[in-house]
Subunit: 471 residues, 2 copies
Amino acid sequence: MDKNLMADLRGLEALLERTKTEAASFLNRLDELPPAVKATPRDALSLPEQGLGAEPSLRLFMDRYGQELGGSTGPRYFGFVQGGTTPAALAGDWMASTFDLNSSHPGSSAAPQVEQETLEMLRQLLALPETFSGSFVSGATMSNFVGLACARQWVARQLGVDVAEQGLYALGPIPTLSATPHSSTLKALSMLGMGRGSLVRVRGQPGREAMEVEALRAQLDSLGGKPCIVVASAGTVNTGDYDDLEAIGRLKERHPFWLHVDGAFGGLVACSPELAHLTRGMELADSVTVDAHKWLNVPYDSALQFTRHPELLLEIFRNNAPYLDVRQGPAPFADQGPENSRRFRALPAWLTLMAYGRSGYRDIIERDCRLARMLGERIAGSTAFELLAPVRLNIVCFTLRQEGGATQESIRAFLDRLRDDGRVFLSPTALDGVPGMRAALSNWRTTERDIETAWSALLETASQGRAAPVR
Amino acid sequence: MDKNLMADLRGLEALLERTKTEAASFLNRLDELPPAVKATPRDALSLPEQGLGAEPSLRLFMDRYGQELGGSTGPRYFGFVQGGTTPAALAGDWMASTFDLNSSHPGSSAAPQVEQETLEMLRQLLALPETFSGSFVSGATMSNFVGLACARQWVARQLGVDVAEQGLYALGPIPTLSATPHSSTLKALSMLGMGRGSLVRVRGQPGREAMEVEALRAQLDSLGGKPCIVVASAGTVNTGDYDDLEAIGRLKERHPFWLHVDGAFGGLVACSPELAHLTRGMELADSVTVDAHKWLNVPYDSALQFTRHPELLLEIFRNNAPYLDVRQGPAPFADQGPENSRRFRALPAWLTLMAYGRSGYRDIIERDCRLARMLGERIAGSTAFELLAPVRLNIVCFTLRQEGGATQESIRAFLDRLRDDGRVFLSPTALDGVPGMRAALSNWRTTERDIETAWSALLETASQGRAAPVR
């Protein structure tokens, strides 16, 4: 055995201790760390011929990069819609790395059983009926991919084609109707061989990202009974808007379509009595996307796909021989989703659900929404910024108030200065063509004090280079 | 803040200590743990209304499942082709969970830079020329998916179609030629909308899984210049066989095809002077699949895709606006692969490459191959078992010597008894229709002593219920 491998095998416990110490040091500083950092360009290191051993390598990494990682898992990283990591989820992820179990195949450990149990708890958290079953995927993009793959298989079946076997060649384009789909829906259409061009836009309600259901109905009418796909949003990324899932779902009584609901983060509000009305009708979906590394606050990579049609998963994703009806028990996860082997992803979710329960998640979700409203009120009353949309959920979408209007460049420059200030991180966007930015509050650690800190940073950054301070 | 979240925030360091202790306890027992365990059926737990907090939840998990996880990351798990976790990779994975960085987007941390650096080190380890660039994906199935998505885009381009935009509808089936593709190639064809039926088998060499290059040439001739895809294997799962990549690559001079090389585990032998001849010609590929959670011994989920045509990745996987030629620096990883956001997957690979270097990986790979030959010799000289193929790499493919021949059932029963014995774990297979089993040696911890232990377990399990002991 290589001498470094041998030495590390003997010193494994000391290495774990050292790793824990580094981790604790990072987490203890998390509240003060800049949420994001611009990295210095460097010449890349080459593969060493002889290695350094684990501990010197960890030191080298921390020396070289430790100051430029950023505290994106901390309380004032408001970029994208990115969750943090609860303590229980972090412990679970460490143990998942340690066990390094492949949870796809039954018969060699309890991991597949833990995964089923976790999926059942998540189904309960999402208030989905028992007709839904799920599996873990690596993120919302892959979950949308799985949902749309099922939709593709279902639509083609209505037309007498088995896409999994025959491909899409014998079909005409499958219309995919949506008002404000996440960019990953277009990406999934590309990946699936359906083409980005198969997306058909449905008109939104005035001043909203939610679709005009009457417009959808008219479009479905015009398809004259041709089966198609509808992608509804449960929480849009720019304004946290929701399609009327119940009204859309009712259209299925008269029109043949597959309803896919993208609830990457917004689906989770189903656990809050205060907000659950937003997801009413989600049970009418054929497939549902939910991220776990967003509002569930488990580490990357973790998301869920739920569907009422698991038999389609097997047609598309089975890895080996066709399934027999006599098969007992649930199908291996390897046959239900894109990945064959995969990490014991359920464990961080199992631990965090058990540790904080429904009430813990209500707390995170309702608090983040309350804090977003608070930030929204500051912006609404400000001379420096203006809201681009009402604060509906956990997202504040706003722009710089400046003569001639904000531009992509002025937003970019402002956000770079804000990042370099180090107190808060936001990401850029555009709403109806207007350049702006978003604060997405999705972290269990964020408190009122963080909003105060973030607001000071926003105002001070906006003041820079101006004659008079802004407010 | 929920009282459990608050308590765990205050006690985070103690929780990490407790997690480390559990992890060390597991790893200290790894050599004695059964590599695989059959799980007891249990009623699933429900989502608790109030949580228990992190530490009691961890205790509950270990009490409930701790005895049924199995030591699959230990030295005698020979199932599938599953690597273990080097100490440096484990430390890296813990830190990746702790930082919880999304490494897809540049501009907010050094993570994308570390990923580039890691990819460069891996390119060097794989001895691929500088014309190749790569990115991390979650496993070999997704890597094959990416390679074949590029192939699909390339073939359609030759025919004047942009699949990413227009879909596959305007095309006829795209032939995908291969001799012994991994099952994930068929699954990827299904996912891509190309259909499993588009796979065209190429004859293998007598008694080999490697393709008959003359047969491929004849099939390409018969396509009369129609562009197509060839999937070559660098390490088949059953016998560790390699296609002649150089001879296949040379056919590109006269025939238009995309060459995808599936080197999920076998690609890594490029780092061993003893074995590198097997991957000769890999540089002629258009895309290459390599797993990291196999022979690189980093935790799940980790694999690489490499390609010489990164512009196709952007066409297929770009998440937002089309890329302009004026763009500076490498494209964000979100636009280069299936996932938009993802874990800081490069970190465990960075640390293990730095810790053990090229020589450490040579040690692991050459040792596993030597030990496989050793086990193969035992089997060749045995009355209980017989080899189904020569031991070419790190895989021993064999079957039970029994009257009338082994059946799927007798193999299944034998492997269940072997798993329950607890010393070694193997997975079932069939080679040319003959039911058998495989020992795949892919772990850095495996030593000669483990082969002795495994051999005793195999013989004793084969003896059970027989009048005379086998040998």
